[in-house]
Symmetry: C2
Subunit: 189 residues, 2 copies
């Protein structure tokens, strides 16, 4: 009991996505997700606080984003620091072998209002974390808030483009291109 399970988190995510696709998010229970993954309900709750959270990585993404901004070169401007963080996320999380999974995940979220709401709130949490990380780099308010909003928007658009399977670019490439587009659009507002 309570033994360490290799890749338990990833197995739970894959099992949840399969079940949400097969029978819908509403008709899937945490117990069913755990069973499909060959794990127990209590293992599920050691990794995720509730069923909604299973598709949202339990906060790991925020940590990566903040670490990436912190680790950006000293002279980098605010959106360049965000680009540095998105490069790291592209290298470590949104890798090519996960693109098809990302597309399926997006489709499941789009089909359910509760998941769309959770995704929207997660996005706001990420934006707030970016503001804090940028301010630690000395970016003043309101530039920190503007940069975080533009960074969050670029991330969202880049993720949409990345999960479009007609597309062969890496997430990092797409994110840098999208950030440049967003910056240019900002100058035209």
């Amino acid at each position: 009991m309570a033994r360490w399970q290799p890749n338990a988190s990833e197995r739970l995510v894959v099992a949840a996505l399969e079940l949400f696709e097969e029978r819908g998010y509403e008709n899937t229970t945490v117990i069913e997700i755990a069973e499909r993954a060959g794990l127990t309900k209590s293992t599920f709750f050691r990794h995720f606080p509730d069923k909604r959270e299973v598709l949202f990585g339990g906060g790991a993404m925020t940590g990566l984003l903040v670490d990436g901004i912190d680790a950006a070169p000293t002279g980098a401007g605010p959106l360049e620091a965000v680009a540095h963080a998105l490069d790291m996320i592209g290298a470590e999380v949104f890798t090519c072998d996960r693109r098809e999974f990302g597309a399926r995940r997006s489709a499941v979220i789009a089909a359910n209002p509760e998941l769309r709401e959770r995704e929207a709130l997660k996005g706001l949490g990420l934006t707030a974390s970016m503001i804090d990380a940028l301010e630690r780099r000395g970016v003043p308010d309101p530039t920190s808030r503007v940069a975080a909003e533009l960074g969050a928007l670029a991330w969202k658009i880049a993720y949409e483009r990345w999960t479009d399977t007609a597309n062969d670019d890496t997430f990092g490439e797409l994110a840098r291109r999208t950030l440049a587009e967003v910056r240019a659009a900002g100058a035209m507002c």
Copy 2:
């Protein structure tokens, strides 16, 4: 029964705010709000879908914002169209006599996670409506999305400044100044 009640909506909002301040949001029921306003529960539900919604105007703000963007002069750029809408909202909703109420409302929302979540989701809905309104004016994607994010951020900052009672400027003045700051900050990202 079901008679028309003058200012029923406004009376319900004032009663709700008073009760939330006195005993907390969680400890207030819809029946209590209706009673304090001298109205019935069914009148409450003709105006608002649930208790959380009573502080968020039931969608009226979205209509005003969209109308304001639609009515902006033809040659106005995207953020100028948003400024036009915020002028109208300042003239019709966020008037000087409502500033103290706005400050109390903000304090109640800040104290409750459920209300903070609803406010955040309302903000996302407003942003989505702004994108649609800007695209009807011929603003292309992603400029429409960037302008809507910047406009929503300027609105939020201007509202914070307006409800700071140390401040004597009108909402419209604050919104225009904040939009200019946000635009300038965007150019420095």
